[in-house]
Amino acid sequence: MTDFAFNIDVPVRSEWSNVDLLITSVENCFAAMFADIDGCHTIAMVTGELLENAIKYGDWTRGHRVFRLHVSGRDKEATVSVENPISPDNKAIEDLFATLRWLDGFASPDEAYRARLLEVANAPRGGGMSKLGLVRIAYEANCRLRAEKEHDAVRVTAQLIL
């Protein structure tokens, strides 16, 4: 283990107020490890957007209404991962994978983000998911995103260079 290896792995109750609690906790943990305030905020933003998506699109009709946040890394790299239960017929999962494929079609996250901003502006108001959060993560954190579906759960992972 290097001096700056870290690992946060917590179960999270699917309550909206927990998003801010965890954003603050993760940001404070990173502030204790690194002097880069901007980098700490970036990790916190990534955590917040992934947590929000988990609460919005997870299946909370069964079980303990709990999902999992995992933040780990070392030195100059970090991984933020959120795993939540899903219902098999949830269209949000198709949209998630479609968004990741859509992102891959751009030369840079910056280009994708600007395109998504224009899409949001042209979409009907109150029309449901903007899917801006994932694209924002890719753009502001300049990170790689991936998603894995396993039976009744989905895990979304962001890999960042700090």
């Binding site: 909206w16 998003v19 801010d20 954003i23 901007d38 905020h41 970036t42 916190a44 933003m45 917040g48 957007e49 929000e52 919005k56 910056d110 983000y113 600007r114 901003l117 224009l118 949001v120 502006a121 108001r125 109150g126 903007s130 801006l132 959060g133 924002r136 753009y139 502001e140």
Partner: protein, 130 residues
């Protein structure tokens, strides 16, 4: 005249309205965190009122984000709607942010995609001082 009703306080977010004179720009100072699940439901009616006021007074609105600590992507969607509504009402909108904070530079620089030749939207990076 501005009144206590022109201050928005919702959850962790506060927006203070300031205006030196009725012919001065209407400043809306964001502070705290905009982390509501449905920020548009809060911000939409508030900005509709402020845009009507600025339109009647024929003054610009300045959105000051310099002291805001966090905003979620749903808030960005709400801000996009404010940009569109301001343009529809021909109210000039100035977005003031602190480029020394990397997240603010990234978030607000990207809103350049909504700039037009009509001069109704301006992005104004500052050094964090008002």
């Amino acid at each position: 005249m501005l009144s206590a009703d022109d201050r928005l306080s919702a959850g962790d977010l506060t927006i203070e309205a300031v205006q030196a004179t009725p012919s001065s720009p209407l400043g809306l100072l964001w502070s705290g965190k905009s982390n509501d699940r449905h920020p548009g439901k809060i911000l939409g009616p508030y900005f509709a009122k402020m845009l009507d006021r600025a339109g009647a007074q024929r003054v610009p609105i300045e959105l000051h984000f310099e002291t805001l600590d966090y905003l979620n992507s749903s808030t960005i969607t709400a801000i996009i709607q404010v940009i569109q509504d301001a343009r529809a009402k021909a109210v000039k909108l100035v977005i003031v942010f602190d480029p020394a904070r990397r997240w603010q530079k990234l978030s607000f620089d990207a809103l350049k995609v909504f700039a037009r030749d009509d001069g109704l939207m301006e992005l104004r990076p500052t050094n964090g001082e008002r």
